[in-house]
Subunit: 427 residues, 2 copies
């Protein structure tokens, strides 16, 4: 087939007419398809339905502590050990939270706002014009945390190896720049795995702010989709890298079981070096006596080590893979390799990042909505919701069944083609 | 028996010698008894061991929502309804937290610190010399929250009807005074139930700060010890009282299931009027996607309404009553009604407040420690840990078995007598 760029105006108008006909037919179906957020599907959640049966043997830890009672603020040792193994660090660097790692990130920055970091000249709330680096496209909820706390969000372009480090190294020369959001393994939404070089440069770069922080959200560290071991994302331990580079206080790392067990009832943790941990504990001990240790014990009994977690995650992958493959298949069939559009083919994580013809993403999402397909708003993956190219659309294929994904991505493709032709006709 | 005050110096020395002999005998037993904190005992925790069996029927709410997945940020409706009934408010005024209500209190004040309250001239972190009212004796962890956030802690004397309102009404004329801690039902540690008049005065008093807040920690709202219905503490709904008085934004109320189900794995909530709730949600929606709804569902199924909670709490009372009675019995037998010491006989809550002869509490706690009896540090119930009378000692009889309570309180009594005699001999 002839590419749109090679077509005459008349040919484009002809093709457009056929596409509009398809689009109207789709609309007539009155579909309600939802690809807005990275939610596990019920079948995935079913994998963990028996998690509380593990408590039949009692509520005691290996050390004979009663998880039903107060105490053990950092979380029970067995679960800290599992997360430590997964993150490649020591259990003493781990502090367990409740179900949400986002909550732990929010709290960490709130502490810095009110009390400052260990190496802060003053609390961050007193820093006028404070700024935060946001590799984009990235996770909208990350950006919203620092926006809410009064940081100016500075976008950083993403490369296939992670944030563009030339740009980052330049930006951190500004002492108002206090930190950076990172999803190092299968980034949200691009599915990019940071290269070792990127990680090392992040760990070792000179920052004007003495209290610069990397918020290392290792949300998808065990969330591989590929069966192929060699294709799996692997990330060095950021705590060690920063310590080796002479900046041990730089990173806070986060992880959770939200997409391992239950998104609405899992457990989370953060990891930090001893100095940051000691300072955090000073405030965490005032904030609460402990987190939910019964749930920690259930998790530790249900998935007693990193190997068990990996085995469990392979079951998730079995469920997710056909969905991600369906997205690729439909996009390839519908849009081919014309270069007008492109999209990612991630080996893990929860998203496919689709890049519509520049200047059309908002229109594509609106047209999809009119046809009953709910997508994440265009621009959502950028600071302030503004994609300078109006191109990126985050696709979340985890929740709907394959047949709905096929329908939704077909409609997306039709809309992408119509809007691209409209742009080409304007040229 | 002759009272110490009526004895001659020689008689006192004689009695002291006998007491020291008793004390040394106790020491020789090498006891390790712990009455430091208000922890439920294992037998109490056993009452809720089957809580997760309720999830056998599935993880769906009455509205067919999947608690295992993201969403429903304020918490599932059935559990909000139960807490609303208990607190005498509406379910829409309730926002569920994770296991710790202290965590919700900390977070509420952190939000005020960084963002200010709805009626704040500026965020509290920017208020130099900010102050907080601390009815004392009170809960040490409350005091620590506001101390950590840079408030000057202003003690307020307690009366048998709650905080001394004449003092409170005077203190709130200072615009730097931003709030007050209250445990209105079975206060920690005195077990005082605020009178209706106290509640109304708190709700209707004029405060210089437009953003004055009552932190209403209804921690023991269903925690009656007495069997006698008419002796049970009952507190009016503070949200309604404040609204009626024209200060609807004044209160935040808190409660949890820590001493209903599991102290290390329960659920908590806060209650607020619509305007405060809307403002809190603005930030809570940035902080986390949701709290642990699976645990909320388990609780709602296990204790499906306020009546079920009351029935459950009566089982707790059955276990706690003999322990509280043992404390009263030993204290009465050992110390009688000489007026040198006094103590509370609460109808609910978790503590007995013991008042040693003024100037001796620190010594009593130290002597008890040497005899293997761990007590809450003297002064812990006062701002900055400083009891001006060095008299109050918080006794926590919930955790140890009765026989240990008898031993511990006997030793406490011996130490109280020795130290009182020492003081009398000094006079």
């Amino acid at each position: 087939m002839k590419g749109y760029r090679e077509m005459t105006k008349e040919e484009l108008i002809q093709v457009r007419g056929e596409l509009i006909e398809r689009y109207e037919k789709c609309k007539a179906l009155n579909l309600t398809l939802d690809m807005t957020r990275g939610k596990p599907s019920p079948v995935q959640l079913d994998l963990s339905n028996d998690i509380y049966d593990t408590l039949k043997d009692g509520f005691k830890t290996a050390k004979n502590e009663d998880t039903r009672n107060y105490g053990i603020a950092p979380g029970i040792e067995e679960i800290r050990k599992i997360f430590a193994d997964i993150l490649g660090t020591d259990k003493d660097n781990i502090f367990m939270g409740n179900s949400s790692s986002l909550n732990q990130m929010f709290d960490a920055i709130m502490r810095a706002m009110v009390f400052g970091e260990i190496d802060s000249p003053k609390p961050w709330s007193q820093v006028e014009g404070r700024k935060w680096l946001c590799p984009a496209p990235g996770y909208d909820r990350h950006f919203r945390v620092t926006e809410t706390m009064g940081f100016e969000l500075i976008p950083v372009p993403m490369t296939e190896n992670g944030p563009d480090m030339d740009v980052v190294e330049e930006l951190v020369k500004d002492e108002k720049v206090k930190g950076i959001w990172c999803v190092p393994c299968y980034s949200n939404p691009d599915g990019i795995v940071y290269s070792e070089d990127t990680c090392k440069r992040l760990a070792s770069m000179k920052t004007a702010a003495p209290d610069f922080r990397i918020m290392w959200d290792n949300a998808y560290v065990v969330h591989h989709i590929t069966e192929n071991e060699s294709e799996r994302g692997k990330i060095p331990d950021i705590l060690s890298l920063c310590a080796e580079a002479g900046f041990p206080n730089r990173p806070y790392e986060f992880a959770s079981s939200s997409k391992v067990t239950f998104a609405g009832g899992g457990i989370s943790c953060f990891a930090a070096n001893p100095d940051n941990m000691a300072r955090a504990k000073k405030y965490l001990s005032v904030q609460a006596i402990c987190t939910n240790k019964v749930n920690q014990l259930a998790h530790a009994k249900f998935l007693p080590n990193a190997e068990a977690v990996d085995k469990h995650m392979r079951k998730h992958a079995e469920i997710l893979r056909p969905k991600f493959e369906a997205v690729q298949k439909v996009l390839k069939e519908e849009l081919g390799d014309s270069g007008l559009w492109h999209w990612t083919d991630p080996k893990g994580g929860y998203f496919v990042s689709f890049y519509a013809f520049p200047g059309t993403a908002t229109k594509v999402v609106a047209m999809c909505k009119d046809a009953g397909v709910a997508l994440t708003p265009a621009g959502a993956s950028f600071p302030y919701g503004k994609d300078p190219d109006d191109s990126n659309i985050r696709l979340c294929p985890s929740f709907p069944p394959v047949e709905n994904i096929v329908k939704a991505v077909s409609i997306l493709s039709v809309c992408a083609k119509i809007t691209a032709i409209d742009k080409l006709l304007e040229e």
